[in-house]
């Protein structure tokens, strides 16, 4: 089990990670200097995930019909869209900001409070996730070492700072929670997002969990690749450098 002092030292590590220049160790290709602690937290998170979150997400899938679940996804995304707009502006992505702006007004009014993704029927106005972690990346901030956060899962100092930044900037949170004193709004929205996202990932994560030899290493790789794709905003896949071994060997031999 994880003792209190352990948790404290982990939190201290996170802060140190945040403050340090986030230098990358060339001898550590996975950029994971805190791997031992990360693995411990990962195991705890996984136990929570399998015993609590997965059953809840499965029950949600089994009891709530697909169109309703789709509307939940749409509604949560719509609540997030003003924050996406701000991040697109901060990233200097005029086109992305325009998309977020149009999505919000179209879906809020014609899509009945965001329950229907009317804007997304136009391929140019499809949903795209942005957050302050991505904004920091666009600004040139390095990710820093890989971190597994208790409950929140895979992250790094940059993305952790991103979570804090998003909380502070989110206009929806300010308008609904702070202005109206509706304290339950934030936690309810968080819980709904958690179940909504987990339901969407049920099959894919079960697959990775079953087929990977090292679940921790697989998730670490998936997290990094997914974040890089989100940051780059490109629809095109960046091909990796897979050498032509046969030709190389003929040349050498």
């Amino acid at each position: 089990m994880l003792s209190v002092s352990r948790v404290r030292s982990i939190l201290a590590l996170c802060v140190v990670g945040l403050l340090s220049a986030c230098a990358t160790d060339p001898n550590d290709p996975f950029n994971d200097p805190y791997e031992d602690i990360n693995r411990e937290i990962f195991a705890l998170n996984d136990a929570m995930d399998q015993n609590v979150l997965v059953p809840v997400a499965e029950a949600y899938r089994d009891t709530v019909p697909e169109p309703v679940r789709q509307s939940v996804t749409n509604g949560l995304r719509n609540l997030n869209t003003p924050l996406i707009f701000i991040n697109e502006v901060l990233q200097g992505d005029v086109r992305g900001a325009e998309v977020a702006f149009n999505r919000f007004w179209i879906n809020s009014f014609i899509g009945i409070g965001g329950l229907f993704d009317i804007a997304g029927m136009d391929p140019r106005l499809e949903y795209r996730h942005e957050d302050f972690g991505q904004t920091l990346a666009v600004w040139g901030v390095e990710p820093g070492p890989y971190l597994v956060l208790p409950l929140l899962g895979p992250s790094n100092p940059r993305d952790l700072a991103g979570i804090v930044g998003d909380q502070l900037m989110d206009p929806v949170r300010w308008v609904i929670q702070v202005e109206t004193d509706w304290d339950a709004f934030g936690p309810s929205r968080f819980a709904a997002t958690l179940v909504d996202r987990r339901e969407a990932a049920l099959d894919a994560l079960a697959e990775v969990r079953a087929s990977s030899l090292d679940y921790y290493a697989a998730i670490r790789s998936l997290y990094r690749q997914t974040r890089e794709a989100e940051i780059n905003d490109s629809d095109e896949v960046e091909p990796v450098d897979i050498p032509n071994y046969d030709v190389l060997e003929e040349d050498n031999g």
């Binding site: 996975f30 290493a217 896949v237 091909p239 990796v240 032509n244």
Partner: protein
Amino acid sequence: MAEMLGRWRRTLTVLLVLVGFGATGAQAQGTAEGAEAFLSDIGDRTIAVLATPDLSPEDLRAQLEQIFVDTFDTRTIGRFVLGRYWNDATDAQREEYLELFQALVVDTYARRFRGYRGEHFNLVGTRQISDTDYLITTQIFRPNGGPAVNVDWRIRASGNGYAVIDVVVERVNMTITYRNEFGSIIQRSGGNIEGLLDALRNRDVNAG
């Protein structure tokens, strides 16, 4: 003087163009259409297997394995996945590794396809990314609706025809994921490839 320079420049341009064409002409293999036809054929073969009524899980696996062996360049994929550790491995270790790796990938795909409920894929576009490689973008649609899954197939042309060397699902690279995972396992076994071979030998074949 100026005229002479101009002529030189033209000659140089012509030369460069010729050299450029010569270089690609010598190495370029295959065509985008050829790669697409190759991928469509894999799709047709796979769907034909999946649509076979009353196929036992063992037969399904065997048939998918045949398609995989015929169409994927396991050697290139496996070697890239192993990265620098390939050079340290003995011939016997390499052969065993390739065999175990292929079994892992086939099991993974066989399990994925066990839940097949009439998904189909559409070709979105093809991009030539090197003299020999093509990246074909497809979208996989589920019969019950929901968002399409973006899958990119990297297909390499060679003297032996075409072969798949990478699959990218929703921007996640199959080869990179295996490479990171296997690299981590070897690193945690003190840099010894036997650590990975053990993990591959002892994996739970029926997991999931």
